[in-house]
Subunit: 476 residues, 2 copies
């Protein structure tokens, strides 16, 4: 190429760069979320079938933003968009998409394109995508892949979902104990193609390929060439291949790990987990806790209407049963309510405040259990403290509401029944809110799932029974 065309090409490149940057500014708002106008532009281009404009628009986006864009499009628009994505872009986007959308997108990608895209992905992401494929398509895609890649993916899929084995990438950088810094650097420069695209630690392994230490890459860089790796290596925290991903996330968070070696039962190094995978897991687990506490099962994310109904109805049905039992308590006091209908107006207040106090305690307990700040060591102390808080809040609220009720109705016995019932319910709420998640956790179950149903059932039941019972005793 002559000097002149070179310059021209450069000029064109820089012009393109400018356009790209302008488009980028158009695409993302200040908060790094997609602008509605940009999404409209994409939809317009799709409607017009303007492939050129689409390429331009999508080219301005990071794969993560393309994934976000997919989330904002209707199912039809997504289907139209898929053919405009080349295998490399597809490879980068697929691991960013939410499961529901990904499954849908995968249906519209030809097997050959998919096999190529999956070949470009890291082993953990590739396995996730293959796992989402339907049996027929999975067979086709795997058949279209080179033997080695297929074997790697099948090995990943052999590990259970949400374990370290599925989270890890098999690409690692390992070095024998006896190497020096210089030997290691020279080796990596020679074998560039075998290295993962990005890595943070070099695992030092013994002859049986068991990790004995790790050297952060920055440490390698600052050390002299003749220093043995064994001298600068740090202790490693090994992750067993079958460890639950929540546990893995806990360890990464606690020890501020950037990467960790994953080992087989015998101790052999089989892969590594890096912190960027963990960030996703932590987000996910936090979301799961929020949704579980609100009574939405996992499937509730990004589902269609039917999926949303399915993820919420079961808990509402359970809640119907508990509400019916609580209602039967009220039914037992029908006679009292007929005589004094104000009881019917006041009883939900007792139940509601108890429910809220119970939920507060529950949320604190679930959070503390997740971060292991609450365990067998301080369970009794925590529950006792909660009960004291429940009594204190109950006393404060009883004094306040009691005052209002006495002012409104001038009935000391009604006031007493209400105040006493409220204190009882606040105390029971604290006990239930702390003890129920602890018990679920001790039983090896997720303390966030279903605990709200139990707690509000206890507080509704107690609230109605204590207030109506006391009212029956004192008033009538």
């Amino acid at each position: 190429m002559s000097r002149e065309t070179d310059d021209l090409a450069e000029l064109k490149d820089s012009a393109l760069l400018d356009t790209d940057e302008d488009l980028e500014d158009l695409a993302l708002g200040e908060d790094y979320a997609l602008n509605p106008e940009f999404v409209s532009d994409v939809i317009d281009a799709l409607d017009r079938g303007d492939a050129e404009r689409l390429r331009e628009l999508l080219g301005a986006l990071h794969p993560a933003d393309v994934a976000d864009l997919m989330g904002f499009l209707s199912a039809d628009a997504r289907e139209e968009l898929v053919p405009h994505l080349d295998p490399e872009t597809l490879a980068e986007i697929l691991s960013e998409l939410d499961t529901e959308i990904r499954e849908e997108v995968l249906e519209h990608v030809p097997s050959a394109t998919l096999a190529k895209a999956i070949g470009e992905m890291e082993s953990d992401d590739a396995a996730d995508v293959v796992d989402d494929l339907e049996a027929d398509k999975r067979a086709q895609v795997l058949a279209a892949m080179p033997e080695v890649e297929r074997a790697t993916i099948e090995a990943s899929l052999a590990y259970k979902d949400e374990t370290a084995g599925r989270l890890m990438q098999r690409e690692v950088v390992a070095a024998p104990q006896f190497w020096t810094v210089g030997q290691a650097i020279d080796h990596f420069r020679r074998e560039v193609d075998d290295l993962p695209e990005l890595f943070f630690d070099i695992y030092v392994v013994d002859p049986s390929y068991k990790p004995v230490g790790a050297v952060p890459v920055s440490q390698l860089l600052r050390s002299k060439r003749d220093v043995p790796l064994a001298q600068i290596m740090e202790q490693v925290t090994e992750i067993p291949v079958d460890m639950d991903q929540e546990e893995v996330a806990y360890i990464f968070d606690k020890y501020h790990l950037i990467s960790a070696p994953v080992v087989e039962p015998g101790g052999r190094l089989v892969g590594q987990i890096t912190v960027d995978d963990i960030v996703g897991v932590i987000q996910e687990e936090g979301e799961e806790d929020i949704l579980a506490l609100a009574g939405v099962s996992d499937a509730g994310r990004d589902a269609d209407v039917l999926g949303m109904v399915r993820s919420r109805l079961p808990w509402l049905l359970l809640n119907t049963v508990t509400a019916a039992i609580a209602a039967s308590v009220i039914g037992a006091f029908e006679g009292e309510i007929e005589k004094l209908a104000i009881l019917a107006a006041l009883m939900p207040v007792v139940a509601s405040l108890g429910g809220n106090a119970g939920t507060q305690t529950l949320a604190v307990a679930v959070r503390a259990l997740a971060s292991r700040e609450l365990s067998a060591i301080n369970a009794i102390r925590t529950v006792s403290r909660e009960m004291v808080v429940g009594l204190a809040n109950g006393a404060a609220l009883a004094a306040l509401t009691g005052g209002v009720i006495y002012a409104l109705f001038g009935d000391l016995r009604l006031t007493l029944a209400f105040g006493a019932a409220l204190m009882i319910n606040m105390f029971v709420a604290a006990l239930a809110g702390a003890a129920i998640p602890l018990a679920l956790d001790r039983m090896g179950r997720d303390p966030a799932v279903s605990s709200v149903v139990f707690v509000t059932f206890v507080t509704d039941f107690t609230g109605f029974f204590a207030f109506l019972g006391l009212a029956a005793l004192i008033l009538l």
Copy 2:
């Protein structure tokens, strides 16, 4: 040292190592949480004042585990433990402690020791600790520190809490554009003392110290010495120094960043944020959302009884007001309830199911807003979909419960009033559960805070009013 003593020292070292490993096994359970027996051992040693045993026990722990241990100890035991920690250990533990406990521990550390410990910390952690000190002690500690360190910390503290400026460390590795890989590596080897302990990216800067790209350390390692940095550098995502930490976490998660340069308004590089800091932020923000949805204010973490009451009572008071308003609706129908007391038993069921359905929608919306999956782009579609789901769930529940009520009471009009009220409430619950967090977000407020109060108020009010109103119309 003679050969013999050398060997002896080695032997002793390895013996010590064995003991340490045994203690480590004793200290941590399989789930990497502290064993109750180990905590008891520490408490025993504290009671006996056995400094030797304490050193041994604490020596077996990672600083993060010492921090966990502190959380499990009583305030008195913590106070006794503090003098047994040397400045280096203290430096590592302080950044791991929860705020409440840290403030308490800091009170018991002499200013001189503290100044030394803070000097060992990274600038972001150091600033956090200094920020927790009371005015008097802060002045003492800062006075006891070298000028440069003091200036760095004061500069960090000038940034607002929970912003990128406070999260960042000022220690960065930067290189001019015209350097080659070899020049960079040689420079780092020479200036080892100026490098941060651990780093993942080298920021390539222009003459005005603005970042123009980043070279991952592993990329540096795999490239030939004569390659210019400008050729292998990647695009960087710059973090403005005043960006909110939640936003920073969103960007790290979205783009899978390991580190990112922090820039001043003019664009000058002033520090970097690394992903390990972000893991903590994500945990924190997730926790805050869970607690906010349950009506517990921030201060609720690790507080004493008084702090716990303070973090929960305000919301309960607000809830008392909303419950009283809902109760006044019931009060308005006293006549109807006196005539038909069964209404009193059934109305909480309508309110409770609406409240739960509203909370489900709310949790999904809050989560989607946090991950930016829900925005102005798809707000209308999302709310409409929620309303359809609300109607569908309402119809399913109305059919089921209506059947039960008809079977129990044989009253078609009562059944109709209940079913219709339930459907209305489920529809309103979906609308409120989706629209309220969206509105709060649009107003620039945290959609997790206070939205549950609003939603349950709406569903209680609607539940009582719709059921009793319809009953009054149809039945009486």
